[in-house]
């Protein structure tokens, strides 16, 4: 049941052991730590160490040249007054709360259509999956910048039917929408996961429902959704975590500025500007921790809410 399921199911095992087994255990123990050595070094120096360091830096003023200067909660107090930061939170929340549900909705819809042994399934699946592999690249962001430009592909097509479209990415009211659309475009990966999940639903449930004369809609609501709910949950959690960290698309489309008028200023983009543009590393670290707390909170809410709608078969 996926990484998430694993995490919630971890149990402690206790069983009496013979001397022979204890000896084997000791040998295993030594071998295990040797096998784990690279991972443990990485955990210490690349993950946990830097994490703690960034927590420390978030309470300092640090510009990379002078040593960090402890300023207590000043960075966080600054954040409360930083209206650009508030705006960037709004942009990010909009992106996540609009983009992820639409993306997953489309993914589920297409997965359902593809599921029922349709002819040409591998072909369709490839077509829908390909964009999700390319979507994170700079090249596609460049393409998007052109497509939604004033004289871009979208407006050229609209012109064919006599509509004069706006400059989608130069207009603050549509710029974020264009980037959300790019996120929706990458629905292929969750779609594949939905497809695999749908295959696991035993056919007998549907057969029984057919015997009882259930409609397609009833079968969808009463069988498909409950049995697919762990997969929906898994996709939801992972896509939300991922979407909060989106960066490349907004960076390229806006030329690194987060514009027009900060309408595509993602939280991560603002963090980058603060940390690596102005070398305000203390503030950037504080922002990173805020991001971690927000993502953690969303994940926690998801887990709590899951008790009410996610159905575990086993």
């Amino acid at each position: 049941m996926s990484a998430l399921g694993e995490l919630s199911k971890i149990k402690r095992r206790t069983a009496p052991k013979t001397a022979e087994e204890k000896k084997a255990d000791r040998r295993d123990n030594k071998a295990a730590y040797i096998f784990l050595l690279p991972w443990l070094v990485g955990l210490a120096f690349i993950t946990v160490g830097p994490m703690l360091a960034s927590l420390y830096l978030s309470f300092t003023d640090y510009n990379l040249l002078q040593s960090p200067n402890w300023i207590g909660l000043d960075n966080f107090a600054r954040m409360l007054k930083d209206t650009r930061l508030h705006n960037s939170l709004g942009v990010t929340f909009t992106y996540v709360l609009v983009g992820v549900p639409i993306q997953l909705g489309v993914a589920l819809l297409i997965a359902l259509v593809l599921d029922k042994g349709i002819r040409g399934l591998p072909f369709y699946r490839s077509v829908f999956y390909l964009p999700s592999l390319l979507g994170g690249s700079v090249a596609i962001a460049i393409l998007w910048k052109q497509i939604f430009g004033t004289t871009g592909l979208v407006n050229q097509l609209l012109a064919l039917i006599g509509i004069q479209g706006p400059g989608w990415i130069s207009d603050p009211s549509t710029a974020l929408g264009s980037i959300i659309l790019l996120h929706v475009w990458t629905f292929g990966a969750p779609m594949i996961i939905f497809l695999a999940g749908l295959r696991q639903i035993p056919a007998m449930y549907y057969e029984a429902a057919d015997v009882d004369g259930a409609s397609t809609w009833q079968k969808f609501i009463k069988i498909t959704i409950p049995l697919l709910s762990p997969i929906i949950f898994f996709n939801l959690v992972l896509q939300i975590i991922g979407a909060f960290q989106s960066f490349t698309q907004a960076f390229i489309v806006s030329g690194g500025s987060g514009g027009p008028s900060d309408s595509t200023m993602f939280f991560t983009l603002y963090l980058y500007q603060k940390g690596f543009g102005q070398f305000d590393m203390g503030y950037a670290s504080a922002m990173a921790w805020v991001l971690l707390v927000i993502i953690g909170a969303f994940t926690a809410i998801n887990f709590v809410a899951s008790k009410y709608w996610v159905f575990y078969d086993d």
């Binding site: 149990k11 402690r12 295993d28 690349i46 690249s137 700079v138 695999a196 960076f251």
Partner: protein, 313 residues
Amino acid sequence: MTNLPTMSKETPASTAAPEAARKKRRVRESRGTLAFSRKARSRAFLKHVLLIISGSVMIYPLLWMVVSSLRPDDLIFKDPGLWLNTLDMSNYTDGWNALTHPFGHYMINSAIVVIGSILGNLISCSMAAYAFARLKFTASTVLFGVMLLTIMLPFHVVIVPQYVLFSQIGWVNTFWPLIVPKLLATDAFFVFLMVQFIRGIPKDLDEAARIDGAGHPRIFLRVILPLMVPALATTTIFTFIWTWNDFFGALIYLTDPDMFTVPVALRAFVDSQAGTSWGSLFAMSIVSLLPVFLIFLFGQRYLIKGIATTGIK
């Protein structure tokens, strides 16, 4: 949930149950089409219409980019169609030489980072996965939990101190900051993927090797690794695509044009062009997507299995 059908094909575990389920399913479908053949046929037709329309909308921008890169520059702003009158390769030759170095230089840089990352992930993640999946050790539960949590950790929370660390060792504008973390199994996603795979390999095989006097290194190298080739392939392919596309890391650590990887080179190209030569920009974008597309074409099986199994099992 039970074993995933697609997974059981590659694990030596029993394949009987999912096979039967699939057969049953096929029977159900064929029975269905016999009973309601007209209704079912029109429904299938509608589905194909829906799929073809939505698929075309998805792929159209990509095709249009390819076609536009083969057209004279000004047509990009005029011609939304896919029809090519002449084949104009000048965007490719112009774009290739538009930056400080020929574009091939950046592709070689990217290739170095990609190969280093793949080797790093394959070695370090498979070792960690063997320990998690097969060995009993102190604090294994806690460490496994920590490993799973790091999958979900946003990298922003470590990026500043990591940058400080690597810049103090003098690694800015080298490929090390992009490769070394992979040598240390920080892509925990792959550790998890491999743990799941190893768990599907029957333990009898390890036991047999152990009775023959093999130690853990031998069991790992001679028994487990050869059997987990599909998981290694999935890891290779995902690492390739993610590293090839990686922008943030390269943006931070590689500021010297000599060291640019493809994504940062493209970004430099966008900035320098200011929108004047979309044709050559498109051409180089396509060149940059080509390796990913080829990997997709030949490695699709592993990609789909990879994400399907991590999502389900």
